[in-house]
Symmetry: C2
């Protein structure tokens, strides 16, 4: 465990707010600067104790940061990192929490202005909550954080960021940005797409008959529309591939129901249960 | 609140066990007879205090019942009700907790043997848990129970069963069996089908990258395969119609992602969020 003098967090919503809380509760940073677009969110983050200082001015906010963590929508990360590199101290490390990695990591590979370096991260944590109010210091405990180094990533930079996430309680997994985007297209973006289509299917007259099942299965559809528009656009190919794979399984199920094939149905449901039981017990996030 | 001397519960899993617990904790029945196929489940139900007596012999179990509640897979209910009517006391009321209603209610409409009468019920409660261990006395509190009377249903029978569910804390909603099956095809059976297809789409190599989103969205796939095979077969037409409606929404989403149409995507996601937020706050089951 190595602590920082100053960490800057750009975007103090659920993820950024939780990073701030964890850094402060674990004594990992003296100063945590929260950088955001609206005073209201920044005030909330400060009130919750997630940050020690706040500003809406990105250049000013990163002026003394040893580490900058971007928790902003994926469509904005590349531009913000370039701006940060022009204003942060020499050699500042920059990482992110974006749900897609390839386009970001490709655009920011190699040394940036003033010797700053960027490494891609993706903490597999969160939920449908938006904003800092849902933030908790233990959000990352036991959760997987994927890091996506490139051939030009320096080993000591990787180690430093890996240590940072480990210090928040996370389990770091390393893969290429391509591998990451393909995997999350299926494990994270597909369920979101499915939840959205499901929520869109419920007519108003049936709202009172919605029970636990529909509520849970559609929960992700309550997530932030802007964030997810960005993610679907950024990871277009992998999301479409995952949706196609899902479509194949859905068609198989429709076919068995259509021909009233009880044996085939039982087999599909038994297989799906075994698979779901297996990944629910093995996945990092209970 | 009117209490019973003896209520028989056929099938003491999550629903049956919870009915037993609620009856006993609220002092609504002196004797609760648990009827099941395996001694192990019956023993668990007795140990949990959900039933006072148990038997694997259906005729024997209903011999003194004023009310019989069937909590067995929908494919078995019609036959079991007919058998119960041959062995229960004159005029015994019989209801069920089956997730589909039309075929059951049609088959059992009108007076049965020995003046027994059947009324269809569907408590919209439950989850992915199977077996009595997850049973709780307050499972039905604030939940909707749909009752599906027919023209031949007697008013005092309806009132008695309505009182029974109200006494367990539920909100009774009345509709025809056709209306019920169409509605739950969408609100309950569709999310199950979607969760199954989603779970089936996750390759083993990605299990460790499964997070909160996939876990929650696929949760229903861990439900009992036999029960759900029955339900999909029983409610075939409505399930297929609901899956088609879902397919339309999914295709709309795929199309917007394929043509990288950010404006259309944002609109779809914003609409789905509004819809989901609305039914999640209005539905009976938080």
């Amino acid at each position: 465990m190595k602590s920082f003098d100053t960490v800057a967090i750009v975007g103090v919503g659920l993820i950024g707010g939780s990073i701030g809380l964890a850094l402060r509760e674990r004594g990992l940073a003296k100063n945590v600067v929260g950088i955001g677009r609206t005073q209201a969110t920044l005030r909330t983050a400060r009130r919750l104790g997630a940050v020690t200082q706040t500003t809406v001015d990105l250049p000013k906010g990163v002026k003394e940061a040893e580490l900058v963590v971007l928790c902003t929508p994926v469509g904005r990360i590349v531009e913000q990192v370039r701006q940060i590199a022009r204003h942060a101290p020499e050699g500042t490390l920059i990482t992110d929490a974006g749900s897609t990695k390839l386009s970001i990591v490709e655009a920011l590979d190699g040394p940036l202005d003033r010797g700053c370096r960027f490494l891609g991260s993706h903490p597999m944590a969160g939920g449908e909550t938006v904003g800092p109010t849902g933030a908790t210091a233990d959000l990352f405990v036991g959760k997987v954080v994927v890091m996506t180094p490139t051939p030009s990533t320096q080993a000591q930079d990787f180690d430093r960021i890996e240590q940072f996430w480990s210090d928040l309680g996370a389990v770091v997994v390393q893969m290429t940005a391509e591998q990451h985007d393909r995997a999350v297209g299926l494990t994270s973006h597909l369920p979101h797409a499915v939840a959205v289509a499901l929520a869109a299917s419920v007519p108003e007259e049936y709202f009172r008959l919605v029970g636990t099942g529909m509520r849970g299965t559609s929960r992700l559809a309550s997530g932030g529309p802007e964030i997810w528009t960005d993610i679907f656009l950024e990871n277009q190919e992998n999301v479409l591939a995952a949706m196609e794979q899902f479509g194949v399984q859905l068609t198989r199920l429709v076919a068995a129901i259509r021909r009233k094939d009880g044996a085939a149905l039982l087999e599909i449901l038994t297989e799906a249960k075994a698979r779901r039981d297996a990944f629910a017990s093995r996945s990092s996030d209970r």
